[in-house]
Structure formats: C-alpha cells, structure tokens
Symmetry: C2
C-alpha cells in the first residue's frame, strides 16, 4: 500500500517568488490528507492533478497564516464543486470560528459536513484514526499553540508463506493464520500452526511532521523510530539566537532531533526567505544526521517497509 508525502509548499512566513507556504499531501492507499494548507494550496493540488474528492481530511498545525490561509479557499472550492462527502479537519481551537465567520459573511451554506477536532497542543494523544493509520499530536514549542502530527500505520497482518499452502485452504483458515492464530479443529488438534505457515508482519510505517518549533527535547520520545521525519529548519547556525527568539529551529537542531529520535530519514524545509540557496542547510543537518534531504517542492517521498 502506498504511503507517501508530497511537498506542496515548504516556504516560511515571508512570501517569496517560486516558494510556496507550508502544505503537504499525505497519501495512504487511495486516500489523501493535507498537512497544513498555506495560501494557494488548492492551486498546487490543481497543478499536480490531485482530484479534490480524494481528500479525506486536513491537519493544521497552528494558526499562523503561512500554515492555514489556503484552507478557506479550499473549502469554498469543495463546496462549489459539489462535494457532499464528509471532511475531517483537525487543528487548533479557533479554526472552526474562523471558518464559520467566513461562510456567514459569504452567505454560503456548506453542502458537506466538516468533522472538526480541536487539538490540545500541550499533549501527545491520538486525535484521529481510520482503517489504515492513527494520528497522534506532537506538542511543539512555538509562539502560539502548535502541534505536529505523527501518522502511524496500524499493525499489519502476518504474511502467508504461499508455497506451503494448498489452493483449497478455506478462507477462514487463512484469516486466522494472518491474525497470528493457529487453526485448530473441533477436537482441539492443531491443523495448521501459525508460525509454520506465516512470516512476521512488517513493522508499521510512520511519518512525523514537526512544523514550526524551537529545538525541543521532548520530540524524540513521541516520534522515536519514525521512518520519515519532516522538521522545520528556518535558519542556519549563525542565526541560532534569532531562531530561539522567533520560536524556530536551525538545520543543525533539526538534525539533532532526527538523530535523537532514531528516525530513518529527515526532511528539512521552512527555510527563511532571506536564504536564496539551500545547500548550506543540508550540510548543517547532514553534519549530525547524514540521511537528510531537502523537502523540495513538488517532490514525493515514499515511505517503504524496511
């Protein structure tokens, strides 16, 4: 099953030509979710030919404009496009008030339900689940309430060893074996022993999104072992003081968090618009965590089973 993250925008708060504010498209199997939704995100979706009907929900980290000013436009376009399917919306308290006020003044009744969940950005807890994955908040240290999100695949089933199975094995037996159970007849005899006919389930994959935050020691505990981590890196080391004052991180700090969290790969982005060139960020982060890449806009990162 595909589990991927496409970078729609990885700019920072001050707008710049050819750089877009924060937005990512998380795809799991055929369902899509947005993570943050900066101004113009709906145009990015159009450019990348993402059908709006595939979007099941939106996760907003915090209420700074570069992370959510595209949301109202997206919702309006869903409505114009005739959407009737429920949309999940997860984000800080107040987002619902903002949406309600916009639609009040445009005299627009929404034709689809929005299932809004207000996040408590102080705690790490499960805020969402579907058939495939759960989502847990990652408390962050920003100027206003802000939480990242950890998307974690649900435990998978054991894998059948097909060569050992006969073609006429009842479906019920296969289900039991995949669930980790032995197949036992009514008299209590073991017909098929789970361990003989299956291999262990692959470990669940996970993706951690840490949008705007100071260097924060509590992050690794929440996201430990994630396959992929996106962590903001607004400044380089020479502006570490400014990073602290503005509640942001340096690329080196993103690398340290990745190392301490023992993740497999780190993506960095949200570079301040004062920087025109990003290779220095990569060098900084790779000096402490080699498996780092730039969260390049338009690029898709696939999270595979290890």
């Amino acid at each position: 099953m595909q589990f991927s993250v496409m970078i729609l925008g990885a700019g920072s708060a001050t707008p710049a030509v050819n750089r877009y504010p924060s937005a990512q498209l998380l795809t799991f199997e055929n369902e899509c979710y947005l993570i943050d939704c900066g101004e113009g995100t709906q145009y990015r979706l159009l450019e990348h030919k993402i059908r709006p009907s595939r979007l099941r929900g939106v996760f907003i980290s915090h209420l700074h404009g570069d992370h959510y000013f595209g949301l109202i436009g997206l919702l309006s376009s869903f409505n114009l496009g005739g959407r009737t399917e429920e949309l999940f919306l997860i984000g800080p308290r107040g987002l619902d008030d903002i949406i309600t006020m916009h639609f009040k003044y445009s005299h627009t009744p929404l034709h689809f339900p929005i299932q809004f969940t207000a996040t408590d950005t102080e705690l790490s807890y499960q805020v969402f689940e579907n058939h495939y994955f759960t989502v847990t908040t990652i408390p962050l240290d920003h100027r206003i309430p802000c939480a990242g999100y950890l998307f974690k695949e649900k435990p998978l089933k054991r894998k059948l060893i097909k060569e050992k199975l006969s073609d006429d094995m009842p479906h019920e037996y296969l289900r039991k074996l995949k669930d980790g159970e032995d197949v036992i007849d009514e008299a209590g005899n073991v017909l098929y022993k789970c361990l003989d006919f299956t291999t262990p389930a692959p470990p669940p994959r996970s993706y951690a999104y840490c949008s705007d935050t100071r260097y924060l020691e509590s992050i690794p505990e929440v996201i430990y072992g994630a396959d992929l981590l996106y962590h903001e890196a607004t400044f380089r080391d020479e502006l570490a003081v400014q990073a602290f004052e503005r509640y942001h991180s340096t690329a080196t700090q993103a690398g340290i968090i990745a190392a301490k969290s023992n993740v497999k790969k780190l993506l960095i982005g949200h570079f301040s618009s004062r920087y025109k060139e990003f290779s220095g960020f990569l060098e900084d982060a790779q000096s402490v965590f080699p498996a780092t890449e730039i969260a390049e806009e338009g690029k898709t990162f696939f999270i595979e089973h290890s």
Copy 2:
C-alpha cells in the same frame, strides 16, 4: 500622471490552472491601490515586483472568496515586512470582523493602522478621496452585498500656453491663471486674462470596476462616460439563464452596459472556468460594443487623457 490598471487575476470562483482569482492593481502617479484581492494576490505582486510599500489601500467589492481570500495573507506579510504606514481598506461590513478574528487567533498585533470604511452597497456615494481622485461606490446586483467602484480623477487645472508667458511671470500669477482666474492689479486693471493665456483643463479620467453582478440597468447612470470600464462576463449567451440565476452577466450584457454608459473602452473578465478559450466572449461583447478587450492577466491598461 500615470493612471493605469494592471490585471493581476481575472478568473471566476472555481479555481483553474494558470488563472488567478480577481485582483487588479490601480496605479495613480506613484501610489498603488488593490481592487479585490483573491487568494494568492500577494504572490502576483511579488512576481510583478510591486513594492508593498507603494500600496496605499485596498478596495474589496464583496465577500465571496475569489474576491478577498488573499487579503489576510497580504496584511500578514505587510506586518512581517515591518509596515508602519496606514492602510486604507474599503469593503463590505464584516471584513473587519474577519480580519480581527484571524489576528486574534494568530496572537499577532498589527504594527500598522488599518483605516476601515464599511461600504453601503445599496447606494452610490463617495467612500474615499485622496489628493488625486475620488472613489464612488457602484451598487451591483449579486447574491450577497456587492459594490463596484468608480475611480475619478479630481478636476484638473487649466493648461498654461507657455509661448505667451514671459520667464519672469510671478508664480502667484501662474497659479491664478491655472485656477481659471484673471490676474488683476490693485487698481482693478486686468493684467492677464485667463482665457488668453491658458487652454481648458483636460477632462478628468475615470475607471469603473464592476465585479460580480447581474445585468443591471442602474449602472450606466453611475459610471456614464468613464474612460475605462471593467465589467464581469462570467458566461456566454447560451448560458444567459444560468447567468441570471447565479447573479452574473454574459459578455453581451457587459457590452450593452458599456454602450449604454458611453464609456471609451470595455474590459471583460471573470470567465467561468468551464470555458478554455475566450475569443467567443470577445466576439459577443464586440457585437454590441466594438471597443472591448479581454482583461488579460499580467496586462496593464493605461488611461490617457483624451
């Protein structure tokens, strides 16, 4: 003095690739004003290298998203960029509530004053003036309160006939002549007769912006004789019923309004995203008003003295 209108976006409500929602940049001498501010307008300004400090005010026609969803982002960026200069904001009641709520949840104090004027969209009256021009509302017929704007240059001074004037003419005399007065000495003798030394002032130039509206018979009275009219043309004739039901106009209707208003030139835009090609709109409007052009995104229309 330059008086021009640059089309930053002329799309309609449903977003489409390579078409931007409504926004225009009005330039008068060195000052700029935005007319409507659809999502992403601040990025258009960046692309066209318009310095934000030149923006003195924003006029919003109505609170449908494709006409104002870019405003909050623009204001946020002004703030981030250190603006301290006052900004004039003219638009329907409610716009102030929306702005206040956004900044409340982002815990952001604005560092520049916004001088907000709520429009009464039912009346035609003066809502703004500066040194160079006045702005009058144009009541429109849309699903929600909506007003266009008529920008009219203030009466100009008479022009001096330089060949007839001596180099040592006192400045005070020149001012009187330009103001239409004769120069008279203390004894009551006419020294310089205004009509002999000046030609009449050129007629003031004007620009009328009619965003979203049904065909409306009362428009010509308000904008009569304007140099340039932008009038929406969301549909072509075969969808005239839909135009009426959705409170929009056809290109032919825009042409009729232009003809009845005796304007010099008509610009049409806001074409429904269902149309991929615009030449038919131009033909429709030109069949009743030949001096029509497409409000092409990125193009600047200069309003010259006739």
